[in-house]
Symmetry: none
DNA sequence: TAACAAGGTCACAAGGTCAG
DNA sequence: CTGACCTTGTGACCTTGTTA
């Protein structure tokens, strides 16, 4: 009934990941959590386990590019160039990225304890709870002078976060009391060792909750949120319509920007999702790499255009290998989407991004998708909640088929064929081995940029490297988790609350 | 959705054993608590933090339930669901007080020696008294540097408990000296065996005193205390007036919530008694089961309504068996109550709850009623002190008669008559044997919920097994049930209320 | 010796301070 | 009024010395 039992033997700061990892039956589940597709053969497994080694354990640093991740550079660079915090990452691979924005994320997922009131960094255990200096002082003042704060201007439901904790004293004090701050709960002196384990657990729960709040507060003004997402989504649709169509030209399809521009629009749409940018850049890249196809498909399908061109971006497949079922699936998806309330489609697309893959080392996407599901219910009613899961399942099937196709195609090409030569029928495949320059961490030179770009963009719509391993994938996922758990337990002894 | 429905009538986070009430046989003695601990040392040198309870830990010791007490489920569940500690412990850090007290109880009834200064767990014999590490260090510092503490901000009468021992150094040092701490009283070396006995006696006295202090400290702010109780009492009266009246309708009286709602109000009133919640939950349930009648009677009688409807809840008795004396008694009670100062009536009612029954294994209710009597004197003067005892005597007589009546009634009913059929005259009796579902740990079905509810509520106003504390109330009532399956499986089962 | 208390130690929290 | 920083304790452990 509670997460505690599972948390006792699994990393307790990943409850959502655990839930998500549960396999649900192929029939649509009403769970708000995305479930990985249950059908074994069609769908691509998550590549998270392959992705994991790239990211240093439990930190959110930008990974140093590994050899086989070269082809992800395109989305990476697009994400980097459209986001504000990437300047730092170009300056230095590690330390530069850990500046302000990063720091917040890092403390969230790493071992820093957060204030239970405002989610700022806690300076210690004050009045019975972990609290920052600000909330500690605020509470002390509140109880010393019997301060009567002005009543809340809202319904006394203000979310208290670091940024806005001074806006409503009433709600701040209320939150202080709600989390258990009390003069009776003071603890002096050295912290008993036995308590440290408990404190650590407490911290994990608090951190998850604070992440939830961080997300929720960005959805307070729902109409503004919807406007922002709708706009970005419309731009994306518009872009797709313009850039879609047969590309039987004599120019290289990639250089014509027919792909880059929609890709940019897709990323812009993702960035328009409130709180999406609070996900680590590396994880954003990963999510986008796994969901561009879905995004474009959904956006295309939702367009009022009478015919849905497929695949998105206008790339045609080898006719010989076409699966006769595919048009049918597309048709079905398209119909179901258009039956939904128009406002719900961007939200569904946003969910598709957040649920693109399961990343055990990053739970924010799941929390964000929780929030989005709730928004979906508010905006679109029950219908999208019911249709959504099965829709995602089919989209994923399609994505899988698409990737397989591309992989097959890519094996029939040599790199030399690609460059400079128009490829009217097939999507240009990724290189199976990256050029030497990719292994260097320095920024690519101007000269190689063109080549790289071709390779990168082409492989975008291909699958990340790991080839489908079938239904046994969940086991693969759970194994590394278990190992993580062991590590953490050992670390428990030396929990540092990190004073400064 | 499914969670909420089961949770409504069967708190699913509790083991079933907690729902069915404890049944201590009339002959059961409290010997299990008075036996000395098995360990050779009375002290726990490795004692954990004084503030350990600050972090919620919902472990409660409850006696093993017997099977024929099924009908007590209703109050039990109401208590459980209206009490914050168990309810919110899942959510986490929300409280401090209840778990503090709970922990206190545990250490009190176990063989741990408490600090004679602050009632924290003592770490040994320091400076001539049993003292915790904190008071030991405090006293050492006080005598090493001859510290002159700032004078007490009150009248130097601060109660020193572990939660507030740091608020007034002056009074803490005073208390240290008062209990006999002295540099000259140091004792070195191993403790002679014969002294352990003396230590043990000391411990008992200290424990009682510390419990007294624990209670007294919650009555420090008398006006706040009175306000809280008065409010809850007013709500109860209001509820009773609304829900009282003949229920000769075509609907089953119980399903109309005419009883559940006042019951809830009565429990809320009990919970508003300061320090009442520091009584073990199981004991709270027992007290309430033995006092709802009194509470409702007193609350009704105190209402300004011209006519007192009886019995509370509007349930009518068989007219044939009415005792002509009854109206007279009711009238007398009502008159005497209304002569009292209005503020004293809630206190009297609170005393009725605490003195509902004598529980040899739990002395807190008696200590609490001592405190309440003292409050009664402060608030209402001598008059209530004089009237109270005789009043209680009559109320108990009435309760007794009421119970006899119900018991008689219940024997003339078969269970089948009850269900679905309006019972305008008689209070529906309890089943004499519980349905099979009560023994299973799975949640009851919707269908059996109705039955269960009827049984439970009905038996609320019937007599629990033992009536006592009245001088003229003999044992004959203690054997109403044919089959007292007293399977007292050896005690001390630890029940995890499960929090995280 | 083992058991046990005085005294020391220092990680930590309450409360004060004072620019911002 | 806020909160980073500082001062003043506090008390969980540890070391040292005493006694049955
Ligand atoms: Zn804070
Ligand atoms: Zn507010
Ligand atoms: Zn003490
Ligand atoms: Zn004082």
């Amino acid at each position: 009934m509670d997460l505690s039992s599972t948390g006792s033997h699994l990393p307790c700061h990943l409850p959502l990941s655990l839930l998500t990892n549960l396999q649900s039956s192929p029939t649509a589940s009403s769970s708000s959590f995305s479930s990985p597709p249950a059908s074994s053969s069609l769908l691509s497994p998550s590549s998270s386990s392959a992705f994991r080694p790239v990211i240093p354990r439990a930190t959110v640093q930008i990974p140093t590019p590994a050899i086989d991740t070269f082809y992800m550079t395109a989305i990476q660079s697009l994400v980097v160039s459209t986001t504000s915090d990437d300047q730092y990452s170009e300056l230095g691979p590690l330390e530069g990225t850990t500046s302000i924005t990063k720091d917040e994320n890092a403390s969230t997922s790493a071992g820093t304890i957060l204030c239970q009131v405002c989610s700022d960094k806690a300076s210690g255990f004050h009045y019975g709870v972990f609290a920052c200096e600000g909330c500690k002082g605020f509470f002390r003042r509140s109880i010393q002078q019997k301060i009567q704060y002005r009543a809340c201007t809202r319904v006394e439901d203000c979310l208290i976060l670091r940024n806005n904790r001074n806006r409503c004293q009433c709600c701040r004090l209320k939150k202080c009391l709600a989390v258990g701050m009390s003069r009776d709960a003071v603890r002096f002196g050295r912290v008993p060792k036995r308590e440290k384990a408990r404190m650590f657990e407490e911290m994990q729960k608090t951190n998850v909750q604070s992440q939830r709040d961080q997300i929720a507060i960005q959805y307070e003004n729902l109409s503004e949120v919807m406007h922002k997402m709708n706009h970005a989504f419309a731009v994306l649709q518009n872009t797709l319509e313009k850039c879609t169509g047969p590309i039987y030209t004599d120019r290289c399809p990639i250089s014509s920007n027919f792909i880059v521009i929609p890709l940019k629009a897709a990323i812009d749409f993702a960035n328009s999702i409130p709180a999406f940018l609070s996900i680590t850049q590396a994880h954003r890249v990963h999510l986008l790499q796994n969901s561009v196809f879905d995004v474009m498909l959904l956006a295309s399908a939702a367009s009022s255009t009478s015919s849905l061109s497929f695949p998105p971006g206008g790339i045609a497949y080898d006719q010989n290998s076409s699966n006769p079922m595919i048009p049918q699936i597309i048709q079905s998806i398209s119909e179901r989407i258009r039956q939904l309330p128009p406002q719900s489609i961007p939200i569904l697309t946003a969910i598709a991004v957040c649920q693109a893959d399961i990343m055990p080392d990053c739970q924010q996407p799941l929390l964000l998708s929780d929030q989005l599901w709730s928004v979906l219910g508010k905006v679109g009613g029950v219908q999208p909640l019911l249709v959504g899961p099965s829709l995602f399942k089919d989209v994923r099937s399609l994505r899988q088929w698409h990737n397989d196709r591309l992989r097959h195609v890519s094996q029939n090409f040599s790199p030399n064929q690609l460059l400079g030569i128009p490829q009217p029928v097939y999507l240009p495949p990724a290189f199976l081995s990256p050029p030497p320059s990719a292994t260097s961490s320095s920024s690519t030179s101007q000269k190689s940029e063109f080549i790289e770009r071709h390779q990168s963009i082409a492989s975008l719509l291909e699958r990340p490297r790991r080839i489908s391993s079938g239904p046994q994938e969940p086991l693969n996922l759970s194994l590394p988790r278990h190992q993580m758990k062991v590590e953490e337990v050992e670390v428990d002894e030396e929990v540092q609350i990190k004073q400064e």
